[in-house]
């Protein structure tokens, strides 16, 4: 049972009008992992997270959270007890104070952690008496994170959790998140445009494009298997001999997954004068996949 992934989807699809926002998406997120969800604007990240907590329903396909089906209303209620969702907009009723919002929220969750809520109030620099309408964008983000992280959820679904936070507060939020992950077993799926923060705290990365998963792997695995190989030839490079190679004058560069040696040997046998092999960052891998999908 413990090995069963927390999130599983099979051919999940969400159609708005004629547009498939989620287009046959297959995803698994293992228990206890912190998974960064990367994709361009409109790739379907927010729709996906919303579907997981029942804020929008799949058109077809299957999705399970802790084995519970996201398309059945009775099971959705159970999912919402164990999964916390922090949306991108983070709206609160303007006339309520921070204290009232916290009291209101905790009433729904028997596993509420008052100790953590107090700790986050301090680290996130939130004051109990402030009216939500007076909170800055950054403060609303911090309050939303506090509510999600203090409720004792086993799964956190975060949509751009640090968007609008200054770098110091963003780092504190990430620190609170890894600290929570160190204390209790939680699974985190967070959508982000901050590739650096995904690289910093995620152990898995999922990239989606046009509603489909284009990559889903362990971050360490990605970093150890991908290499950038660049060849320089005497004349026009044999670009057709390599998949997804970028040709620029007499140079040919390509991102290689696994076995750069084989590619290097092939380039050398085709008369490459010079060969460079360099490690790649997550950003390189991201751009490569997004460019590939855009072709």
């Amino acid at each position: 049972m413990d090995q069963e992934p927390v999130i599983v989807t099979r051919e999940l699809r969400k159609v708005y009008g004629k547009i498939s926002v989620i287009d046959g998406l297959n995803l698994e997120v293992p228990r206890g992992s912190i998974c960064g969800l990367l994709g361009r604007n409109g790739a379907g990240k927010t729709t996906l997270l919303k579907m997981f907590v029942g804020l929008t329903r799949p058109t077809s396909g299957e999705g399970r959270i802790f084995g519970l089906r996201i398309d059945r209303s009775a099971e959705r209620i159970e999912i919402r007890q164990s999964a916390a969702f922090v949306s991108e907009d983070k709206m609160f009723p303007g006339t309520a104070t921070v204290a009232e919002i916290i009291q209101f929220t905790r009433a729904f969750y028997p596993r509420w952690r008052s100790d953590l809520a107090e700790e986050y109030l301090r680290t996130f620099d939130l004051s109990l008496n402030t009216h939500a309408g007076k909170l800055s964008k950054g403060a609303r983000c911090r309050l939303a994170l506090l509510l999600a992280m203090a409720r004792g959820a086993d799964l956190l679904l975060l949509d751009e959790p640090t968007a609008g936070l200054d770098p110091a507060i963003a780092e504190q939020s990430l620190q609170a998140l890894v600290s929570l992950a160190g204390q209790q077993e939680i699974t985190v799926l967070f959508a982000s445009h901050q590739i650096a923060e995904v690289e910093q705290i995620a152990d898995r990365v999922c990239m989606i494009e046009k509603g489909r998963v284009v990559l889903n792997d362990s971050l360490d695995e990605l970093k150890s298997s991908y290499r950038r190989v660049q060849f320089v030839f005497e004349s026009k490079p044999p670009a057709a001999a390599f998949e997804n190679a970028h040709e620029d004058g007499r140079t040919l560069s390509l991102l290689v997954k696994r076995n750069p040696d084989e590619v290097v040997a092939r380039g050398t046998s085709m008369g490459a004068q010079s060969v460079d092999v360099a490690p790649v960052t997550l950003k390189d891998i991201f751009l490569e996949h997004m460019n590939g999908a855009g072709k």
């Binding site: 890894v178 992950a181 690289e199 971050l219 360490d220 092999v277 490690p279 950003k283």
Partner: protein, 134 residues
């Protein structure tokens, strides 16, 4: 003693952390029998994933540098410290070779990026030739 790993470097964070621990043992910042920070503390201090810290610790245990005692934490082993001091001498000797090469390349006007790439290419060549022998 430990600093935040560089996320964008292309080197997996657990490997960077392993290097830091080994370096701490090599330099004597951590001695035989001394305790490393707990997984949660280390994850919090460096703002990295606790699973990543756990992975680095497991690998270090596998290499015999540290010992994980259930419920007590991670400690530098005697062998680890001794091995690291042998390793340190070996690395000091190797460092001289690399320093000579780096100085030479710098004198030829190569920048850091170029040297790195050359080194990486040589590593690939080594892997390739050892692959052929098998």
């Amino acid at each position: 003693m430990f600093w935040k790993p560089s996320a964008g470097s292309g080197v997996p964070i657990y490997l960077q952390l392993m290097e830091q621990v080994k370096h701490a043992v090599e330099t004597g910042a951590l001695r035989s029998g001394e305790q490393l920070p707990g997984i949660r503390k280390m994850a919090e201090d460096l703002v990295i994933n606790p699973n990543t810290v756990a992975k680095a610790y497991r690998e270090l245990e596998h290499e015999g540098v540290i010992e994980l005692r259930q419920g007590f934490g991670a400690f530098v082993t005697k062998n680890g410290a001794a091995a690291e001091s042998r390793e340190r001498r070996r690395m000091q000797n190797a460092q001289v070779v690399v320093k000579g090469a780096a100085d030479h390349l710098a004198a030829l006007g190569l920048d850091e990026q170029q040297m790195r790439r050359l080194f990486e290419t040589e590593m690939t060549r080594l892997r390739e030739s050892s692959g052929r022998e098998k």
